[in-house]
């Protein structure tokens, strides 16, 4: 079988996102920011958010990482713009269930293009990579009363 099974994980769209990530960089008008580390591999990811009328108006991410974490971050940024904190919370939960193989209910509706990361469920070691950016946006939203915050990703959470 060999590498052919990799196609389930590294779908073309994922490779493209990783090679040319969307919203990569920094925001000038960032109101909230969070840096997360994945202690397993040393990846650091910073997510910045601007809000308008209780919705995410802009988002950016920076930092290096593997194909999965970069693509996941890129897709996340595409999907969260214009969403309310409650909607984002639901997205993160849905994404988490999808990549841990718990449930695929409504993934296309709720996650949009990011539903393509469904294949991660077959690669348990990579769940953390896929989750990193979603975990970050979740914590940003949770802490959005604070001006800025810094946190540590732990492999055991979510």
């Amino acid at each position: 079988m060999g590498l052919s099974r990799l196609d389930n994980l590294y779908r073309q769209m994922i490779l493209e996102h990783a090679a040319h990530p969307h919203h990569h960089g920094t925001l000038e008008n960032a109101e909230h920011q969070l840096e997360l580390r994945n202690p397993t591999c040393g990846d650091v990811l910073t997510v910045q958010v601007a809000m308008k009328e209780d919705k995410v108006s802009d988002v950016a991410f920076s930092g290096s990482g593997c194909t999965i974490s970069q693509a996941s971050a890129s897709m996340m940024t595409d999907e969260v713009i214009g969403k309310t904190p409650a909607q984002i919370e639901q997205m993160v939960m849905t994404f988490s269930k999808m990549v841990t193989g718990d449930s695929k209910d409504n993934i296309d509706d709720i996650l949009g293009d990011a539903a393509i990361l469904e294949g991660v469920a077959q690669f348990p070691a990579r769940i953390k990579c896929a989750m990193l950016a979603w975990k970050a946006i979740y914590q940003v939203i949770e802490n959005s009363n604070d001006e800025s915050s810094i946190g540590l990703m732990r492999h055991d959470e979510l």
Binding site: L3, Y10, L15, C41, T67, I68
Partner: protein
């Protein structure tokens, strides 16, 4: 000879005879933990099937049998690392616990404010964080020995860092990332000249070469059973008896105790004073079987086989464009650990791809974050070989890396 030795050997390791993702498993994660020969697995099972009992205090037959095996392995370990006495052999959970005990017992007792503790930039967290904590507690300073550009320890830097203020020098005998073997005998000389003790993290050397703690003239030596074909949950701390006698125990209860009164307790002498509670008796029995297995082959032979294996694989890896290898390229200077990165690919992606090809390697910081920073990488991929690996395994690794490059060629640049 090398080839023949290996063909027979592989049959001793049933786990290697399996397919992973439809490919024959090539297990190259030996620096993390090693596979166990049938002889070790059966020694543990037989202990439980025939002799299992708690040791030391028992008067009955099973207890005597268990105690004889438990204490017999202490002798075996002493011989294995050429310790002067089996009473210097302390059973621990593993290298991490062993090094922590040196820091918490010897260190907290003898390190004074203003003292210095010297380690290197290539240390595993287990030989780094305990010293950081000790330095904080006792008001000492933690200093780092530099590395040369090829990853070897810079002995000139060592001579500068180790001074009369130095209380403890602690260095890995072999690096778990760079594969490099460190000149611990030389470091021990420098340390002793300045009145410091020399601690050696032997986790990555003991499985692969003959250890002689007396020839190295060091003060403490730690290693893990699970990295040399023994069960998980058993490791060794060796220490010079003069030092062990001065050290307070850390875990209280069980066989380590001599006499308890309501408000006062006296302890046994070393090694027992350190062994609180029921020990991992079956793990000790398995460690004995693993040492028997390794010695039946011979540590010198193991070392030379692994060197020849690496000598044949390294050039093949170096031919792959875009592949960077960390650590010295001379096989004489290294063990069977090869850390590498493929340009433009994250090591996690490499490891996942290799796993699809049945090749098990590790990717990450390998519990050596300061070294990653020193090398200026986020992480590396790491293939680590052992006795049961073959030249074909090396070829499978090379082919899988080539296929991985091909797969990702059109993806990220």
């Amino acid at each position: 000879m090398v080839k023949k030795m290996n063909k027979q050997l592989i049959e001793d390791f049933p786990i290697l005879d399996q397919k992973v993702n439809d490919e024959r498993l090539v297990y190259l994660d030996n620096a993390a933990t090693t596979q166990k020969p049938r002889a070790v697995i059966e020694a543990v099972a037989n202990y439980y099937y025939h002799d299992n009992a708690n040791v030391h205090r028992g008067v009955h037959t099973l207890a005597e049998r268990a105690t004889a095996q438990f204490e017999g392995v202490r002798k075996k370990v002493a011989h294995f690392i050429n310790a002067p006495s089996e009473q210097e052999i302390i059973y621990t959970k593993g290298t991490t616990e062993a090094l922590n005990w040196v820091a918490a017992s010897y260190g907290r007792t003898f390190v004074k404010p203003g003292d210095e503790i010297v380690i290197s930039y290539m240390e595993h967290h287990s030989n780094l964080v305990p010293w950081q904590i000790l330095a904080k507690k006792n008001g000492a300073t933690l200093k780092y020995i530099d590395l040369l550009s090829d990853g070897q320890l810079d002995i000139e830097s060592a001579k500068k860092q180790i001074t009369d203020k130095t209380a403890i020098v602690s260095v890995a005998h072999a690096s778990n990332v760079l594969g490099v073997i460190n000149p611990v005998a030389e470091l021990a000389k420098i340390a002793h000249k300045h009145g410091a003790i020399m601690v050696v993290d032997g986790a990555q050397s003991t499985p692969h070469m003959k250890i002689d703690v007396q020839a190295l003239d060091i003060d403490f030596f730690a290693f893990s059973g699970h990295k040399l074909m023994a069960p998980t949950g058993i490791g060794i701390l060796w220490g010079k008896s003069e030092l062990l006698e001065q050290m307070p125990p850390l875990e209280f209860g069980g066989e380590m105790i001599d006499w308890v009164q309501l408000q006062e307790t006296t302890f046994k002498k070393a090694p027992w004073k350190f062994e609180g509670g029921t020990q991992n008796i079956a793990g000790v029995v398995g460690l004995g079987a693993a040492i028997d297995y390794l010695e039946s082959i011979g540590m010198e032979k193991i070392e030379s086989y692994e060197k020849s294996l690496i000598a044949s694989i390294l050039p093949e890896l170096l031919k792959i464009t875009g592949l960077e290898i960390y650590g010295p390229l001379d096989p004489a200077k290294r063990t069977g650990i090869i850390s590498f990165n493929l340009k433009g690919l994250h090591p996690h992606d490499v490891a996942t791809a290799l796993d699809m090809e049945g090749v098990a390697i590790r990717a990450g910081h390998h519990c050596a974050q300061p070294l990653m920073e020193y090398l200026n990488v986020a992480a590396t991929a790491r293939a680590s070989f052992y006795l049961y690996n073959t030249i074909e395994d090396g070829q499978r690794l090379v082919e899988a890396i080539r296929a991985t490059k091909e797969f990702f060629k059109n993806g990220i640049v």
